[in-house]
Symmetry: C2
Subunit: 353 residues, 2 copies
Amino acid sequence: MPKKNAETAGKRPTIRDVAARAGVSVPTVSRVLAGNYPVAPATRSKVLRAMRDLDYVVNAHARALAGATTKTVAFVVDDVTGPFYAYIARGVEQQAASEGRLCLLCTTHGDPERELAVVELMREQHAEAVIVVGGAWDDEHYRERMRYFATALDRSGSRLVLCGRPSPGDDVPATVVHYDNEGGAYAMASHLLSAGHRRISYMGFGEGLTTTDERIRGFKRAHADHGVEVDEALILPGSFTKSSGHELTKKLLAERDDVTAVFAATDMVAAGVLKALREAGVRVPEDMSVVGFDDIPLASDLTPALTTVHVPHEQLGREAVRLALHRGPEVDDRVVLGTHIVVRETVAPPRRR
Amino acid sequence: MPKKNAETAGKRPTIRDVAARAGVSVPTVSRVLAGNYPVAPATRSKVLRAMRDLDYVVNAHARALAGATTKTVAFVVDDVTGPFYAYIARGVEQQAASEGRLCLLCTTHGDPERELAVVELMREQHAEAVIVVGGAWDDEHYRERMRYFATALDRSGSRLVLCGRPSPGDDVPATVVHYDNEGGAYAMASHLLSAGHRRISYMGFGEGLTTTDERIRGFKRAHADHGVEVDEALILPGSFTKSSGHELTKKLLAERDDVTAVFAATDMVAAGVLKALREAGVRVPEDMSVVGFDDIPLASDLTPALTTVHVPHEQLGREAVRLALHRGPEVDDRVVLGTHIVVRETVAPPRRR
DNA sequence: ATGAAAGCGCTAACAG
DNA sequence: CTGTTAGCGCTTTCAT
């Protein structure tokens, strides 16, 4: 039986079919495909015609197998629907596309099992980079795990990128693209302190969460620099949700009357805070100042518009793929992007008591 | 020179290395990998051990080349950051994961060039399904294009899925997962009409957009059924953005004083409407009723909470991959998911004038 | 139950 | 410039 031929069989045409139809050899077709090798213009157009006639498309898998690189980066998140993640995703996708890469999307729902499965999958796929996004619990177990992921991926020729997470250690073969949580929190707390606030509640403390740790550190450092003592009882544990902000605020209002400002751990929390305040008839910013963190679109849509810390989400995503793709002695492995406060309408000096 | 061996070279171990280490043949390893063929338990565990020892992972590309299916579905959107898309994405990703599939994410930014490029890419990748999401311009050109995409993908053995878009024609080899725009709009307009509203403005009319066409049709049919004439001057063209709703409302307020309700084309538009109303001191729902469409999370967060039409975003995404993956005579090719109104706080009977 | 042999579709040295 | 010769790592017949 002769070699399978797409013109007779009902299958996808292969490079061989194209070669046959154009009357050239297979490698020649491969060369016009790759474009990085001299081919006589006449031959070239014959081949192109044949490809068109046959409606030929290369087989990405065959190509990957034969050595050419895979051209895919993976993007691993807890959940795509968070506005926080969505914008990082956009940055990742944009940069990937502009570098001619495809983007694999994987979600873990915070499940360590799935996280591991995803990493294995990416090893199978030979993804060039695996970008893991979002805060984490900063304990030894986490670092151990990331160290394992990093080396496993490294062995498979791909690169782990930790985005918005702290480095698991300097010797770990991973790229880290982080943003300045502490600096942002410091600036924001200073903003409040400078306006005269002395009793500030931090809402949404998450024990052991890297995001929290870093933000709290900035919060406290600002207090120290302003010579203001931090009231630990005002650092309220909670999750990063609107309802958490809502509950916490109701409770705070019931228990204390000396607090003049709320530093919400995230914009989402701040949204809940504002809601509770509105329900309680507390005016913002006249009676109470409120600030958030993240600068998601919601922040500017709240009433009053939220003063918050801007995190460069999209840029974070873009840098993640850029750094992973262009590695080398010239390029940094660990990067921290700046944050800055965005002043809107939720901060005013405290009222005379 | 002997065959490359991972234990000596610094490369990824292959199935051959595993075979060697386990003292069996390559096909045997392949069999324990696939699991769908009898292998002696003893041999089996020897192989498993070898794989573990070598930290072996299959090469997805080699596997795809050799015949096993690709196990990837592609998800094509305009922009990941829209809450609308994000939830469909979540559905797609969830279902894909639960069916053991990987999910490719591609964005087009509404650029036809990129859209075409993406489809070609997916042909190269042998994606099992290519899910295209979001409204479209319902003209002959669109149908032509989708027809082309569908047949091109079909020839490559993959399936085009149109999600939240109308069918380009019955003979086209594509799966269509749509939702009931007209029914939702009909129900919502009826809700307003039943409450006594007679002058309702439809804000965010998009000429030739399928989404708009379908919603307007329901809007008009409800009016007809209630014996109320539609004032065409109240159907206001605009984009699906908050600022559009904001602008349109300011203008409407300045020009007309007989309108008692606004039907916003989307929740985003409704958010802008509410903002403009608040700025103008018009109370909702006492002075003006407002409704939206989509039921994105924002809807319940607005003040007052928005009465709107629920679209089953996640389910849309899940069905899209489910139907594409399990095709057959038993399974439907064209599916329309239901919508329903969600009554919250933005509708009341019109005030006596 | 296991091994030998033959590709899947492509790229990559080599020659000419 | 172009063709020849080898694989990439895996899955399948087909034997044994």
